[in-house]
């Protein structure tokens, strides 16, 4: 059977990790290429890069990071952040990424999902969704609303409907980030994850809130997620990916144990 995937997420600004990552011997790593290699060796099943570079001049720095990552790690990786056109997607894919993720850009221009899927195949296009829990109202029947710009702007779009729309427009996967849980390290938003994952037929990566191994167990079982995105839990060396997988494996979750 298919394994559940454990996916570290690296935030990159101007070609550097935004927060240093502590590794063996407490060495601080600021280079995303070295960090990716380290996680590859720890057994990451995939890696997500999120480019938070503000200026468009610095886009080429990210492409150089992507090229260097592609030369040293041999698992899939995706790149998101600031991708506004098929040409932006093409540049990242030619630099060596398997997948591109679109988030706010797809909310503003949903046709971007179709265009990307048509040009590169559905498997290339990940729909990133930032979601906040809100009161149920007619336009938000699920009680979860899509937000953009890091949660500052409410879009009036229902999260479940947007997930289904993204699927029908050709997204190959959904990365579902709970803004409420993000950064808390208090656990994933299980209800939201189960709601979306059980109602779309494409894989769902749960994101936001991982602080301990039990959180991953919950979201991969009760939450029905196909994959779990992790950040602080491994960046701060609370756990290694290997520890997390050993725990999940012991709890009966199928994860890849040989690499």
């Amino acid at each position: 059977m298919l394994s559940k995937r454990i996916i570290p997420c690296l935030d990159v600004r101007d070609g550097k990790l935004t927060k240093g990552i502590k590794f063996k011997g407490n060495i601080d790593i600021g280079d995303p290429v070295e960090a990716a290699r380290e996680y590859y060796e720890q057994g990451a099943d995939e890696i997500v890069f999120y480019d938070i570079t503000a200026s468009s001049d610095a886009r080429n720095i990210m492409l150089d990071v992507v090229r260097r990552v592609a030369e040293t790690i041999f698992i899939p990786f995706s790149v998101g952040g600031g991708i506004r056109s098929v040409e932006d997607m093409r540049a990242v894919i030619l630099a060596g990424a398997e997948k591109i993720s679109v988030n706010s850009e797809a909310v503003k221009n949903p046709a971007l999902i179709e265009e990307g899927a048509k040009a590169f195949g559905n498997q290339c296009v990940v729909l990133g969704m930032d979601v906040k829990k809100v009161a149920i109202r007619p336009e938000i029947p699920s009680g979860y609303e899509i937000v953009i710009h890091g949660g500052r702007i409410y879009t009036g779009r229902d999260a479940l409907q947007w997930a289904k729309e993204g699927e029908s427009r050709g997204a190959g996967e959904i990365c579902l980030n709970s803004i409420d849980a993000d950064g808390t390290q208090e656990g994933y938003e299980i209800e939201l994850t189960r709601l979306v994952s059980s109602q779309v037929r494409i894989p769902v990566i749960a994101s936001g809130g991982a602080g301990k191994a039990e959180h991953l167990l919950d979201v991969l079982t009760k939450g029905q997620a196909d994959a779990a995105l992790i950040a602080s839990i491994v960046h701060y060396r609370t756990h290694t990916i290997q520890d997390l997988k050993t725990y999940l494996n012991g709890q009966g979750v199928k994860v890849r144990m040989q690499w």
Partner: protein, 212 residues
Amino acid sequence: MIGIIDYKAGNLTSVARALHYLGQPCEVTDDPEVLEACDRIIFPGVGAAGEAMINLRSQGLDLRLREWVASGKTTLGICLGTQVIFEGSEENDAVCLGIVPGSVRRFPGDLKDREGRFLKIPHMGWNHVEFSRPHPVFAGLSADAEFYFVHSYYPAPADDRWAIGWTDYGLRFCAAVAHENLVAVQFHPEKSGAPGLQILANFCRWEGNDAQ
């Protein structure tokens, strides 16, 4: 020299990068004469079978590929490259190369896991491959090794003797084919970490004889 066939099917550079990492000289090309001179050929690709066949035909590569495999050139198919060596695919109802007897089918929409939940399509992520017999290209792999898959269609050889690797995703499908000088896999060895690199390294050394 290893020739990587460029037939405009997705990004083919990841296979080239993996071979560079292994120190193996290779060239991504659509030039039949360059490929003719290569001692080994890799036929990769992602995308749709119908479009792939249109591109292969327009470049005259469909006939040449059949010739190369028939004449004993050591060949590795990957993902879409593996699918189009069959006779036909349910994807776009494409008539394919017919090098391997059998067809390529879509995963049924009502595929369920053991708990009765619908399985996601594409089959995306890491899964086991059970090898039914030893083969030089699949030598040295741990029994627990997993490989990275991403596909909505799966190969179904007409004759199980062509199949060497099997994978379970709601149904049991053929994930690897081996026959004489041809090996073909549904997963992506270039994206499957150390076990995938092992397969590519084995292929680069393989003389093209199936030890069946």
